[in-house]
Amino acid sequence: MRQVRSLIETTSRCLYCQNTFSERPGWNWVFSFHKQEPLCQRCRDMFVRIEGDVCRDCGRPSEESAETDTCQDCRQWQTDSFWESNSFQHRALYAYNDFMKDVIKTLKYTGDVALVDLFAEDLRKLVDKHVRHTVAIPIPITKKRAFERGFNQAEQLGRAFTLTHALERVDSGEQQSKRTRKERIDALDGAFQVTSTLDPSQLNNQSVVIIDDVYTTGATLRAAAKPLLEAGAARVFAVTVARS
């Protein structure tokens, strides 16, 4: 009976809100060159894509200052002698709004890995637009966290890349999301290191892509980028699903 019903009834279920929905009839539907839209219209509208002018370095949407191409944050980072001379760039797909926070939460903490399908391809496209990378590295999580969660979200998000596990976590205490900006930056110095099994020449003079779920202050990603740059990488390009 279900087979018969499926002949005329919709079978699309929104990947996020789980409601059934029907795509609006259009030429996109007629030709179906693309996969069926995974989200219902309501959910799709909640995702806010970052577009237009952004900070050259961290990808922050520039609202007030079009006269400078880097934002206040990044200029502050550049007062650090290391970041003054090393190239770090970041871009994110979406704005980290309340809806996005829920999406990431669902993905990470309730283990709804299927949501990764919403982003994996787009992340790859975003990277391809900016760099011709040679090495793609997911941000690692601690063993403890990996055990709790069962998967590394960064690794999942990097599905569309050929991943090299070149980083590992030096064990720290608290969860990053429960700290202030200052605390985060301080705590993170030396939180990552290049894995000992990696052949260092693999990084030498390469453009490296690092992948994570969210960019808040940029501290984590810069902390991860630092050992890579020190190991000889020419530049590091970070990509995330959302940024605040």
């Binding site: 002949l7 005329i8 795509e23 009839p25 030429w27 996109n28 030709f31 693309h34």
Partner: protein, 767 residues
């Protein structure tokens, strides 16, 4: 499967076409279906494959069965026919047509002379729904004798009609008014209403009202209808979604206002819709839109959601079950295809916000999407299609249509008021049609010629892809660029003859007369040798002729070929059956120069025709023996007249030209006297293909000509059952004795010779 049933429709259409043996279009549909099933994301949908296959197979068997059962049970010898009159309508030439459904279920297409109606039916006024016993003879409907011609026999066959009934006076003929059956009553009511409307005024309004309300277009003046067609406005004259929507919305509004619950209002509407379909004439477009409306209403009642694509697809599948022949029906094709395209353009239409822009977009999409199909059927398209549509869609929908409905209602309440309104409508239409005539006089339509079916599919596909790009990228450079293939293909249709190394000589079947179309390879030049024509052209008002070869044969052929300019119009001599078609052509085709034989002008007709050229500044080359003209690699040698011949016939331009590997001799109507002189002057001329002079009259094509020039093929242009008995048996004998292959228009219809540098072959319409 949800929202994918349109693919099943494609599969069903493919099957129906295959079952009919129409292989080529079936193949194109199959390619499109395969494209969807293989190259898009739908390839993963196994269920879709299976359903397409099963339903396709079902339609193949079902349609095949229907087609093979579409046969007559009559022998052709019967003289008395008993049945029910289905529909009656006027035809332009003073005859009345009707359909008679025999008691065995078979239908006949009947005709009788309107003037004889009272005598034939003993003062009985024949109407739809009447029971009749009729005396008459039945014959097979006419086949077409023309390339690109309208095959009446095939058309009636698809309607399930195999015989034309010519009603004759007879004692057995008897009719009575049917009293039973709601269907018959409805038919009768419709017929009555149409007749009453027709009697309201002598202007153009009654034709419009009966077209818009009752779907009967037979009162339209042919030329007026042609204008609507060329301007791409013909869809406005067909009852379609717009009308059904208006009727439904109005009724619904009334029902709600008088306090009927919404559910009951819907039920009521759904029961009324079939009645409306009947009254509106039951054309495929009415059935389509009414069924769709009914389905949507019922779905809203039982709260089931269906994809709009599926609704239209189910309706198409159902209609194809009811009548698989609908696949070939232009109205069916356009109605479904345009509706589907507009449904699919929903997102695109929502991206513009002003109502006017939406209307503009709807018009453009509907026009361009149907353009390839329109071109396939009428070969030309007017630039004014778009602006006129923008003007006329609101004009017809907001003014003419409501007034038409009002008139039909008032007809039964207050005839005087109805008359007032019809005069108002007359005035409005006069204004509108004044605009038509103005545009028609001053601008000619773009003649593309008949595109191949393959090109039609490519054009449609290119445009749909372009719509997809517009939907995806908005009004961007990329989107505009995506229109390029469509317009390139369209231009290709126009310019491809200039890259085609094949030329042709086509002797058109103009009845008793001559008209020969010559196209050189790479379209280096186009000749038209004579135009056909009715005798005594100028004696009567020429609109009186039901058949005028120039207008009805030569011009359509030129249009089908995409020809707007003739390089040489060679008028062999001044008889009406050779130059009578000139007036129909001279304002619709560019003529570079006219060849006319030397030797003076004898008749008024000649004078009038030549004056037409002079008034339009078309140069006339007085042509005589010894003249030579060249076009590209082709040279023509004129061997006659000298100008001293006594009769017009003998003064015909006779010329020889080598086309491909063969030498032709075009002879006009030259007779023995002329032939003897030509043979004497050109004894060494070797002719391969001879246009037999003077329609095969025994006074031409003498033994000496055949002995000297030794042609292998002979072409004769003569009317079927002509008064002169052309071609004469003697001539046929002379040709057969010498084993000359004969093609003749009275038997073969149009005769075409296609050639290139190395080869040539004949093809005919009727073997």
């Amino acid at each position: 499967m949800f929202g994918r049933w349109y693919l099943v429709v494609l599969s069903a259409i493919t099957s129906v076409l295959l079952a009919n043996g129409t292989v080529l279009p079936a193949l194109y549909f199959l390619v499109i279906l395969a494209f969807f099933l293989v190259f898009t994301q739908m390839r993963k949908n196994k269920l879709l494959w299976v359903v397409c296959l099963i339903i396709g197979a079902f339609y193949f068997i079902y349609a095949g069965d229907t087609f093979s059962n579409n046969d007559s049970m009559l022998t052709g010898e019967e003289t008395i026919f008993t049945g029910t009159v289905l529909e009656t309508s006027y035809t332009v030439n003073g005859s009345q047509s009707f359909q008679l459904k025999l008691d065995n279920g078979e239908r006949l297409q009947g005709f009788y002379n309107r003037a004889d109606q009272d005598r034939i039916f003993s003062e009985f006024d024949l109407k739809s729904g009447d029971r009749c016993r009729i005396e008459g003879r039945i014959e097979k409907p006419d086949k077409t004798f023309h390339f690109y011609g309208f095959d009446y026999q095939a058309y009636l066959h698809q309607e399930g009609i195999h015989w034309v009934l010519n009603v004759e006076e007879g004692e057995q003929t008897f009719c009575r008014t049917a009293e039973t059956g709601i269907l018959n009553k409805l038919r009768r009511f419709r017929g009555d209403q149409i007749e009453r409307i027709a009697s309201l005024s002598t202007g153009e309004a009654p034709a419009m009202v009966s077209a818009l309300v009752f779907g009967d277009r037979s009162f339209f003046d042919n030329e007026r209808e042609e204008q609507y067609r060329v301007f791409g406005l013909i869809h406005l004259l067909a009852v379609s979604g717009l009308h059904v929507g208006l009727v439904t919305a109005t009724l619904f509004f009334i029902f709600i206002r008088i306090g009927i619950y919404k559910q009951y209002a819907i039920v009521l509407l759904v029961t009324i819709l079939p009645v409306y379909v009947m009254l509106a004439g039951g054309a495929p477009s009415v059935v389509r839109s009414s069924l769709m409306t009914a389905i949507v209403l019922v779905l809203s009642l039982i709260k089931v959601r269906l994809h709009p694509f599926d609704v239209i697809s189910f309706v198409a599948l159902a209609m194809l079950i009811a009548d698989p022949y609908l696949v070939f029906h232009l109205g069916f094709q356009l109605s479904f295809f345009i509706s589907f395209s507009l449904l699919a353009s929903n997102n695109l239409l929502q991206s513009v916000h002003s109502k006017w822009k939406v209307m503009l977009l709807v018009t453009i999409i509907a026009q361009l999407v149907s353009l390839p199909i329109i071109l396939y059927h009428q070969y030309e398209w007017s630039f004014f299609s778009l602006p006129l549509n923008l003007l006329f869609i609101p004009f017809i929908s907001f003014f003419v249509l409501p007034i038409s409905f009002l008139i039909s209602l008032l007809l039964n309440i207050s005839p005087t008021l109805a008359e007032r309104f019809i005069h108002l409508l007359d005035l409005m239409l006069d204004g509108a049609h004044w605009l038509f005539d103005l545009v028609d006089r001053n601008f000619s339509a773009l003649v593309f010629g008949k595109p191949s079916i393959g090109l039609v599919f490519l054009l449609i596909f290119a445009f749909l892809i372009s719509l997809y790009v517009f939907e995806k990228y908005g009004w961007s450079k990329r989107a505009l660029l995506s229109l390029l293939p469509f317009f390139l293909l369209l231009s290709w249709q126009k310019i491809s003859p200039y890259f085609d190394g094949e030329g042709e000589v086509t002797m058109l079947d103009v009845g008793q007369g001559d008209a020969i179309y010559v196209e050189l390879p790479y379209r280096e030049a186009i000749y038209l040798i004579d135009t056909g024509g009715n005798a005594n052209f100028f004696d009567d008002d020429h609109e009186q002729f039901n058949f005028e070869p120039g207008r009805d044969v030569v011009l359509p052929y030129l249009k089908a070929k995409g020809v707007t300019n003739v390089d040489r119009l060679i008028l062999t001599h001044g008889h009406a059956d050779h130059i009578g078609g000139v007036p129909s052509l001279v304002d619709h085709v560019g003529i570079e120069r006219v060849h006319y034989p030397v030797g003076g002008i004898e008749t008024d007709l000649e004078h009038d025709v030549l004056m037409m050229f002079r008034e339009r500044g078309i140069p006339i080359k007085w042509t005589e023996k010894g003249d030579v003209w060249e076009d590209g690699d082709t040279t023509a040698y004129v061997v006659s007249p000298t100008g001293k011949e006594k009769s017009l016939n003998n003064r015909s331009i006779v010329f020889s030209v080598e086309l491909g590997t063969n030498t032709w001799l075009f002879t006009g109507d030259v007779e023995e006297e002329g032939e003897r002189r030509i043979v004497a002057d050109y004894p060494g001329l070797d002719v391969d293909i001879l246009k037999v002079a003077h329609h095969g009259s025994a006074t031409s094509t003498t033994d000496v000509l055949l002995e000297t020039f030794t042609p292998s093929y002979a072409l004769i242009s003569a009317g079927r059952n002509n008064l002169f008995g052309h071609p004469h048996d003697e001539v046929i004998d002379r040709l057969y004795e010498r084993e000359i292959m004969v093609y003749r228009t009275d038997e073969n219809g149009d005769v075409r010779y296609i050639f290139d540098r190395k080869n040539g072959k004949f093809e005919v319409v009727v073997q």
